[in-house]
C-alpha cells in the first residue's frame, strides 16, 4: 500500500497545477522504487497554499505547499514521505493556524477524504443525519431545522425551517427540492467546494429535505462554469442511489427521493430563485412576480423548497448532532457557522468557516493576512456584486446578519473581496451598473433602463462632466431602482454604488482637468 499522499483535485487546485504535481509524485516514486498511494481529496480551502500536498505519517497528516511539479524531486530528497523538513513544509495540517482557528461544521470533512468515497464519508460522520431523519416524523425534522436557527446561506437569510414548514403544509402530492448552485457572486466558491469536495453532504441534506416536506424529486441547478462540480455531483448521485440513500426507498424510510442535475448557462440572474425555476423549466430566466412564493407554487407550479448549497449541506450536521449543538454557535439571530470566502487582493485567500460574530478585521487581517500586493487595504466588497463596499473604519464590524444590515452592508453568500489602494471606486460604481445592465432579465424598467442610465451617468462623472449634477442624478436613479425593481438585481445594485459614493467621495470628485489627461 505504501505511504498515502494526498493531492487535491478541487478545480482551484487543478487551476494551479495539481494534476501535474500528482503525476510528478507518481513518476518520482516509481523512479525511486518507493510505494506511494495517491489519493485525490477536495481542497482544505487554503488556496494560497495550493497545490497543498499532504502525507499521512504516524503523527497524522503533514502538509507541504504550494507545491509545483518541479518541487517534487526535492520533496522526496527531503524525506517528505515521512514528514521530513522542507522549505514548503507546514507541519501537521490540523495545526496550521488558518485551519486550526476555524469552526468547521459543514466543512469538517472538506479536504480530508476523497469526495466520492462513500465509506470514508460514512466513517467521518456522514449519513448519520439521514438515517436519523428516516426514522423521524416529517414535522419533527422540520422542527429540528427550525430550532437550529439555520437561515438561508444564498443571500436573503430566510429561516430554512420556516420555508420547509410552508412546503410541508401544502396538500399537493407532488413537491420538489431545488438546490440553488448557481453561485454567481464574485468572491464566492464555497458551493463549488462542497459539490467538488464533499458532494454526499449536499445530497444527504437534500434527501433529508425531501423526507421533511414530502418531496419525491429534486434538482440541483449548477452553473455551467463549474464542470467539475457537475461531474462530481452526477457521480455522487449515482453512488448514493446504488447504496440506497436515493431512489425508491431512501435509507429504509419507505419514501422515495430522486435527484437530477441541471446545468445553468451563464446567466447571473438565474441565481434568483424564481428565475432559476424558470430556467429549470427550460425557459428564459425571467424573474417571476411574487406572490405566489415558490414554497406554494414553485417548479412546474408545485410547492418547492429552494435552498442554497450551503443551507442544505448544513442540514446533515444539524440532524446528526441536534439543533442545540448547531445553534450554540453564533450570535443573536445569526446562529451556527458561516462559510466566509476570502477573495480578490488578499494574501491568504480561502475558505474560513466560523461562528457568526467575528469581526471583518479578524477575517481580512487575521486569516487573510492583508492584501496580496502588500499595498494598503482600501476596501472590501461584502456579499457579492450586489453587496456594499466598506472602508477601513468599518473593519471592526461584526459579521452577522443584523450588524451588517445596521452598517448598510450585507452578508450575502459570504464573499469578501479585498481591494488595495489602487482601486478606483468610481470605476467600481460604474462596473456595478454595467454588471446589472449585462445580467438584468429585463422584466422591469427601473432595472433595465436604470442600469444603462446609471452606467452612462457614472461615465460622465469619470470624465469630469457636471460632476455635482451627475452625482445627484445617480442618487436619484438609485432611489428609483431600490424602490421600483421587482427583484434584488435591480433593487440592490444601488448598494455597491451608494456605498462607494458615501465612503469614497474623493474618487467621484473628478476635476474637469483630470478628465482631459
Amino acid at each position: 500500500m505504501g505511504v498515502v499522499v494526498y493531492v487535491p483535485k478541487d478545480s482551484a487546485s487543478l487551476s494551479v497545477g495539481a494534476d501535474g504535481v500528482a503525476a510528478a509524485i507518481q513518476l518520482e516514486a516509481v523512479a525511486r522504487g518507493v510505494e506511494v498511494t495517491l489519493k485525490r481529496n477536495g481542497s482544505r480551502g487554503l488556496f494560497w497554499l495550493e497545490p497543498l500536498v499532504e502525507v499521512e505519517t504516524t503523527e497524522g497528516r503533514v502538509a507541504y505547499g504550494p507545491v509545483s511539479a518541479a518541487d517534487v524531486p526535492g520533496l522526496f530528497e527531503a524525506g517528505f514521505l515521512s514528514g521530513g523538513d522542507h522549505a514548503l513544509a507546514h507541519g501537521p495540517t490540523d495545526s496550521i493556524p488558518y485551519l486550526k482557528n476555524q469552526e468547521r461544521l459543514t466543512f469538517a470533512r472538506m479536504g480530508v477524504i476523497e469526495p466520492l468515497d462513500l465509506r470514508a464519508y460514512q466513517a467521518t460522520g456522514g449519513l448519520t443525519g439521514l438515517m436519523k431523519a428516516a426514522g423521524m416524523a416529517p414535522e419533527a425534522i422540520v422542527a429540528e431545522v427550525t430550532e437550529s436557527g439555520l437561515r438561508g446561506r444564498g443571500g436573503a437569510g430566510f429561516p430554512t425551517g420556516i420555508k420547509w414548514k410552508t412546503v410541508g403544509e401544502q396538500p399537493e402530492p407532488q413537491k420538489y427540492i431545488c438546490c440553488n448552485a448557481d453561485e454567481g457572486d464574485s468572491g464566492t466558491f464555497a458551493d463549488r467546494m462542497i459539490m467538488e469536495g464533499d458532494p454526499f453532504a449536499l445530497i444527504e441534506g437534500m434527501a433529508i429535505a425531501g423526507l421533511a416536506v414530502g418531496a419525491t424529486e429534486g434538482y440541483v441547478y449548477i452553473r455551467s462554469e463549474y464542470p467539475h462540480a457537475i461531474a462530481t455531483m452526477k457521480a455522487a448521485i449515482g453512488l448514493m442511489r446504488a447504496a440506497g440513500y436515493l431512489g425508491a426507498d431512501v435509507a429504509g424510510s419507505g419514501k422515495a427521493f430522486e435527484l437530477h442535475v441541471r446545468r445553468g448557462a451563464g446567466a447571473y440572474i438565474c441565481g434568483e430563485e424564481s428565475s432559476m425555476l424558470e430556467s429549470l423549466e427550460g425557459k428564459r430566466g425571467m424573474v417571476r412576480a411574487k406572490p405566489p412564493i415558490p414554497a406554494i407554487a414553485g417548479l412546474f407550479g408545485k410547492p418547492t423548497v429552494v435552498n442554497n448549497v450551503l443551507s442544505l449541506a448544513a442540514v446533515p450536521t444539524i440532524l446528526a448532532k441536534g439543533a442545540a449543538f448547531y445553534q450554540d454557535f453564533g450570535v443573536g439571530r445569526s446562529r451556527g457557522t458561516q462559510a466566509f470566502q476570502l477573495a480578490g487582493n488578499i494574501k491568504h485567500g480561502g475558505l474560513v468557516e466560523k461562528a457568526f460574530g467575528l469581526t471583518l478585521r479578524e477575517l481580512v487581517e487575521g486569516f487573510g493576512g492583508g492584501t496580496a500586493t502588500g499595498r494598503p487595504f482600501r476596501t472590501a466588497q461584502l456579499g457579492g456584486p450586489l453587496g456594499a463596499y466598506v472602508d477601513d473604519d468599518m473593519l471592526d464590524i461584526e459579521m452577522d446578519y443584523e450588524s451588517l444590515a445596521a452598517a448598510k452592508a450585507m452578508l450575502g453568500h459570504g464573499g469578501i473581496v479585498v481591494f488595495d489602494d489602487s482601486v478606483d471606486m468610481a470605476q467600481m460604481a460604474r462596473f456595478a451598473f454595467e454588471f446589472c445592465e449585462i445580467e438584468s432579465c429585463g422584466k422591469c424598467t427601473p432595472c433595465r433602463v436604470g442600469a444603462v442610465r446609471g452606467k452612462e451617468t457614472v461615465e460622465k462623472i469619470l470624465a469630469g462632466r457636471e460632476v455635482a449634477k451627475n452625482i445627484a442624478l445617480v442618487e436619484d436613479l438609485c432611489e428609483v431602482m431600490t424602490d421600483g425593481s421587482l427583484c434584488a438585481m435591480g433593487g440592490l445594485t444601488p448598494m455597491p454604488v451608494l456605498s462607494a459614493m458615501r465612503l469614497f467621495p474623493e474618487d467621484f470628485d473628478r476635476a474637469p482637468a483630470q478628465a482631459a489627461e
Binding site: S11, A12, L14, S15, V16, F47, W48, E50, E183, G184, D185, S186, G187, T188, F189, R192, S224, E225, Y226, P227, R262, R263, G264, A265, G266, A267, Y268, S279, L280, E281, G282, K283, R284, G285, F300, Q341, L342, A343, G344, N345, I346, G349, G350, A372, Q381, P385, G415, V417, V418, F419, D420, V423, M428, F431, F435, I438, E439
Partner: protein, 171 residues
C-alpha cells in the same frame, strides 16, 4: 463526438442533414422534455461548437414549441453561440475579485497578444476571447479558462502560451 459527421453522405431524399440528426439524437436523450431545453443546447454546442440557427426548427418540432419560443430561450443565455467560434475559446474573468488583481489590464494584454478584440474571434478562426463573470476561482485571481480548462493567477504570457499549445499556432 459521433454526432458530427465528418464525411457525411450527400443529403438526398429523406436523409436528414447532420444538424437535424444531432437534434434528434439529443432531444431523444432527454425524452423530448421541454424543460431540458437548456441541456439540449449545451449538448448541441458541445458537439457542434455552437447552436446553429438551423437547429431551432427541428428542436421546436420535437418539443412541441414554437420556433420563436426556442429562439427566445437560446438568446437569453450568455453561454450559447449561434455562430461558429474559434478553435480555442479563452474566457477571462472580469468580475470584481479578478478586477482587484488587475483583470482589466490583463484582458487588454491578452487581446493584444492574441490579436483579437474581447468578444470576438481572430481572423484565422483560431481563437475567441470572451469575458466571463466569476469562475469560482476568486482566491486565485485573476482567473481564466483556455479551451475549457481553468487556470488561476494567470498572466497574458501564460494564456498566450496555452493558446499556442492548443492551436499549434503562434498567438
Amino acid at each position: 463526438m459521433a454526432m458530427t459527421r465528418q464525411n457525411a453522405a450527400p443529403i438526398s431524399g429523406g436523409d436528414p442533414d447532420p444538424v437535424t440528426e444531432a437534434v434528434d439524437l439529443i432531444c431523444g436523450r432527454y425524452g423530448d422534455r421541454p424543460d431540458a431545453l437548456i441541456e439540449m443546447f449545451h449538448d448541441l454546442q458541445d458537439g457542434l461548437g455552437h447552436v446553429p440557427e438551423t437547429a431551432l426548427k427541428p428542436i421546436a418540432k420535437r418539443l412541441n414549441l414554437s420556433r420563436a419560443e426556442v429562439h427566445g430561450v437560446l438568446s437569453f443565455y450568455h453561454d450559447f453561440h449561434t455562430k461558429p467560434v474559434g478553435r480555442v475559446v479563452v474566457k477571462v474573468c472580469r468580475a470584481e475579485a479578478c478586477q482587484s488583481m488587475g483583470a482589466l489590464p490583463l484582458i487588454a494584454q491578452i487581446c493584444d497578444r492574441l490579436g483579437v478584440g474581447l468578444g470576438s474571434t481572430s481572423a484565422g478562426g483560431s481563437v475567441t476571447v470572451e469575458p466571463v463573470y466569476c469562475l469560482g476561482n476568486c482566491a486565485l485571481a485573476p482567473a481564466a479558462t483556455v479551451g475549457g480548462v481553468l487556470h488561476g493567477r494567470v498572466d497574458a504570457e501564460r494564456v498566450a502560451a496555452l493558446v499556442t499549445e492548443m492551436t499549434g499556432e503562434a498567438g
